[in-house]
Symmetry: none
Subunit: 112 residues, 2 copies
DNA sequence: TTGTAATTTAATAGC
DNA sequence: GCTATTAAATTACT
């Protein structure tokens, strides 16, 4: 568990004095310094492609991931994590719908 | 910000025809229907206790959270979310005060 | 309008 | 690889 030490961002103060891309790289540098990778913001298109692959195969091997990485201009690691999180999300949604179904049946049974 | 497109609430126009508690439960039902938990309104006392714990430990483990949940008569989930949001708020305030400090120094340096 | 509870999801830690 | 959390960013309500 990362106990966030908080030597907080010396960059933010200068933010207005830099261009957008300079700010971004400053931010990245600082985030790394603080020990956490800056959150990747996938584009709509990247997500679309990833979702399409996921529908067919939610466990793509290293070869497919590398291929995606090239095509989407992302690091392979980002893609691996994306699929991990996506599988977790799918699992949660399954759990939830199961729960709702059980609940529905429970209520229905009470009325019979 | 602005964004009030909404196929909006058939409830709101009837609001005046219902008692406060009827309005509240209507609202809750609508929130659930829309897939969002109705906003919890913490009491002054609950906030006070949470703030006191936060001062000592802003990353309470599951055991402490469960304990708080019992004592404050809240769901453990509400408490986890509260700490999450509280940490984000603290971080924002740190960023802001740092920004002000830097700005002040920057201006001072210009005058030297 | 502001503050903040709630949501979503990328990233991390531990197993 | 999975689970449980965290942080970041946003949404939306009071």
């Amino acid at each position: 568990m990362v106990d966030h030490p908080m030597p907080e961002e010396r960059a933010s103060k200068y933010e207005n004095y830099f261009s957008a891309s300079e700010r971004l790289s400053l931010k990245r540098e600082l985030s790394w310094y603080r020990g956490r990778r800056p959150r990747t913001a996938f584009t709509q298109n990247q997500i679309e492609v990833l979702e399409n692959v996921f529908r067919v195969n939610c466990y793509p091997g290293i070869d497919i991931r590398e291929d995606l990485a090239r095509k989407l201009n992302l690091e392979e690691d980002r893609i691996q994590i994306w699929f991990q999180n996506r599988r977790a999300k799918l699992k949660r949604s399954h759990r939830e719908s199961q729960f709702l179904m059980v609940k529905k049946n429970f209520n229905t049974n009470l009325l019979e």
